[in-house]
Amino acid sequence: MAGALTARRVLPGFGPTMGLTLFYLSLVVLLPIVALALKTGEIGLARYLDIITGPRVLASFRVTVTAALLATAINAGIGLLLAWNLVRYDFPGKRLLDALIDLPFALPTAVAGIALTALFAPNGWFGAPLAAMGIKIAYTPLGIAIAMAFTSLPFVVRTVQPVLEDVRPEVEEAAASRGARAWQIFRKVIFPTILPAFIAGCTLAFARCLGEFGAVIFIAGNLPEQTEIAALLIFIRLEEYDYPAAAAIASTVLVAALVVLLLANWLQARSQRHSEKTP
C-alpha cells in the first residue's frame, strides 16, 4: 500500500489545541497551586510545623481521618454487596438501583448535608428511633462518618462492578467441579480477582472523604477539637484572615489527598495489568 510507505500523515491542529490546553491549565490549575506553594513557603518550616501541630489542628486531622476510615469501612461492605447484587442477580428495580448508585455524585453536597441532618437529627426519621435506643448520630463523629459514607458510596460499587463482570465462569466451574461450595468459591476464586479493584475503590472513597466539606458541616456539630473537620478549620482560619494558617493546613490536606490518590492509581494500574494477564 502506497500510504503505508509514506510518513504517517499528521493531523491538523496540534499547535492551537496544545497551546490552548497548556494556557488554560496554567491559568486555571497551575497558577493557583503555585500561589498555595509560595504562600506556604513564605511561612517557613518552623512556623508551618508549629501551625499544623497545634492542638486544634491535630484534633481536626484526627477527627477527619477517623471518620473517613469509618466511612470507608461502611462503604467497603455496602459497596461490595451492591456491586455483587447488580452483577450477579436479577431482581425488580435493578436498573433503577443501578442509576441511583450515582445519586451521591449528582446531588449537591449541601443538599445531601441538610437531608442527612434532617434524617438523623434527634427528631428525624432515623434519629428519633435511634435516640430511643440511646444512639446519637447527628452532631457527633458518627454523623460525620455517615455524611462521608453517603458522598463516597459510588466509588467502591463502580470500581468493583466491571471487574466482577469480567470474572469468567470457567474458573468458578472448575472450582465447583472439584467440590468447592459457594462461600469457598467466593473467598478463594472471586475475591482475590476483585481485590485490587476493591482496594482501589476504597482508597478513592477514602480520599474523597478526607476532602468532603458540604455534606459534613451540617451534620457535624463543628465543636473545636471534637467534631471539627480539617476542611472546616481551613475555612474558619480564612474567615479570621489568618492566611498563613489556612495555607499551611490546606497544603497539608492537598498533599495528603495527592498521596492517597497516587496510591489508588497505582493499585488500579496493577489491577488492570492483573486482569490483562489472566486471559
Partner: protein, 286 residues
C-alpha cells in the same frame, strides 16, 4: 431446577438459595435507607407546610436571584470547559509527544483537590493578600468575594469533566477516520465537525451534563470565594445554607428541591446516554 441450571457453578445459578434472596433484600433495604430516604426527606420537609408555603419560598426575591446566579455561572463555565475538554482531548489523543502522561495527570488534578482547598488557592492568588492581590488592587479589579471569583473556582473544579469523558473514547477510536478526511483535503474544523464530533457526541454530552450538575451544585469552593452577600453573590447551594442557618429549614429544603430535581434529571440523562452506548457506565465519577 433445570439440568442446565444445575450445571452452573453455585454463585451463578439464578434460582433457589435463601442466601441469594437475603442478599438482594439486604441490598434493597440499604439502598432505600441510604439513597431513597435522603431524597424523600428533602421533599417531605419542603412541602411540610403545604404547597402554597413552598411556592412562596421559591419565588422569594433572594431565592430567585440565587437561582439566576447559579444558572448564569453554568452558562459561563460549562461552554468554556467544553471548549477546553475538546482542545485537550484533540491534543492528547491525536498526536504523540513526550510528557503526555503528565499532561493527563494535570488535566485530572482538580478532581483530587478538596473543594475548600480549591477556594483557598484562589484566595491566595487573587485575594487582597494574595500573590496577584496588589496588582489587581492597582487596577481596581476585584475578583474574590465577588461574582468573577465564583466563575473562576467553578472553572477550576469542573475543568476535567468533559476532557475525562472524551479522552478515553477518542483514544480507543484511533485517528484513521480523521487521517482519511485530512488526506482528502479537510481542514481542522471540517475534520472535527464532520468526522470526530459525530463519533463522540454522546460522551461529549455526558461530560457536559455532569459538568453542569457540578457547577450548579458546587458548595465548598464557591463558599470560600463568594463573600455570601445575600441577593448578590449567593448561589443556590450557598442560599440553602443561609436559609438553613436562619432557622428557615422549610425554605432551605424548598430551595433544595430545585437542585434535587436537577440531580435526578442528570441521572436520567446519564442513564439514557449509557443506553445509547456513550460513556463508560462503570467508571467512578466525582
Amino acid at each position: 431446577m433445570s439440568a442446565a441450571e444445575d450445571r452452573l457453578p453455585p454463585l451463578r445459578r439464578s434460582s433457589g438459595s435463601v442466601g441469594r434472596i437475603a442478599l438482594i433484600v439486604l441490598g434493597i433495604v440499604l439502598a432505600l435507607l441510604l439513597l431513597v430516604a435522603p431524597l424523600a426527606v428533602i421533599f417531605a420537609e419542603a412541602f411540610s407546610k403545604g404547597v402554597a408555603y413552598y411556592a412562596r419560598n421559591i419565588v422569594q426575591a433572594d431565592t430567585l436571584h440565587a437561582i439566576w446566579l447559579t444558572v448564569l455561572t453554568a452558562i459561563v463555565v460549562v461552554p468554556v470547559n467544553i471548549g477546553f475538554g475538546i482542545a485537550a482531548a484533540w491534543a492528547v489523543t491525536k498526536f504523540r509527544f513526550p510528557g503526555k502522561k503528565l499532561l493527563i495527570a494535570l488535566i485530572e488534578l482538580p478532581f483530587s483537590v478538596s473543594p475548600i482547598v480549591a477556594g483557598v488557592i484562589y484566595i491566595l492568588l487573587y485575594g487582597a493578600n494574595g500573590l496577584l492581590g496588589p496588582l489587581l488592587a492597582d487596577h481596581d479589579i476585584r475578583l474574590m468575594f465577588a461574582v468573577p471569583g465564583i466563575f473562576l473556582v467553578s472553572l477550576f473544579v469542573t475543568s476535567p469533566f468533559v476532557a475525562r469523558e472524551i479522552i478515553p473514547l477518542m483514544q480507543s477510536q484511533g485517528s484513521d477516520d480523521e487521517e482519511a478526511a485530512t488526506s482528502l483535503g479537510a481542514g481542522f474544523w471540517q475534520t472535527f465537525f464532520r468526522v470526530t464530533l459525530p463519533n463522540i457526541k454522546w460522551a461529549l454530552l455526558y461530560g457536559a451534563v455532569l459538568c453542569n450538575a457540578r457547577v450548579m451544585g458546587e458548595f465548598g469552593a464557591v463558599s470560600v470565594v463568594s463573600g455570601n452577600v445575600r441577593g448578590e453573590t449567593n448561589t443556590l447551594p450557598l442560599h440553602i445554607e443561609l436559609l438553613y442557618h436562619d432557622y428557615n429549614a422549610v425554605g432551605a429544603f424548598a430551595a433544595a428541591t430545585t437542585l434535587t430535581v436537577l440531580a435526578l434529571v442528570t441521572l436520567g440523562i446519564k442513564t439514557l446516554i449509557e443506553a445509547k452506548g456513550g460513556g463508560d457506565p462503570h467508571r467512578p465519577r466525582h
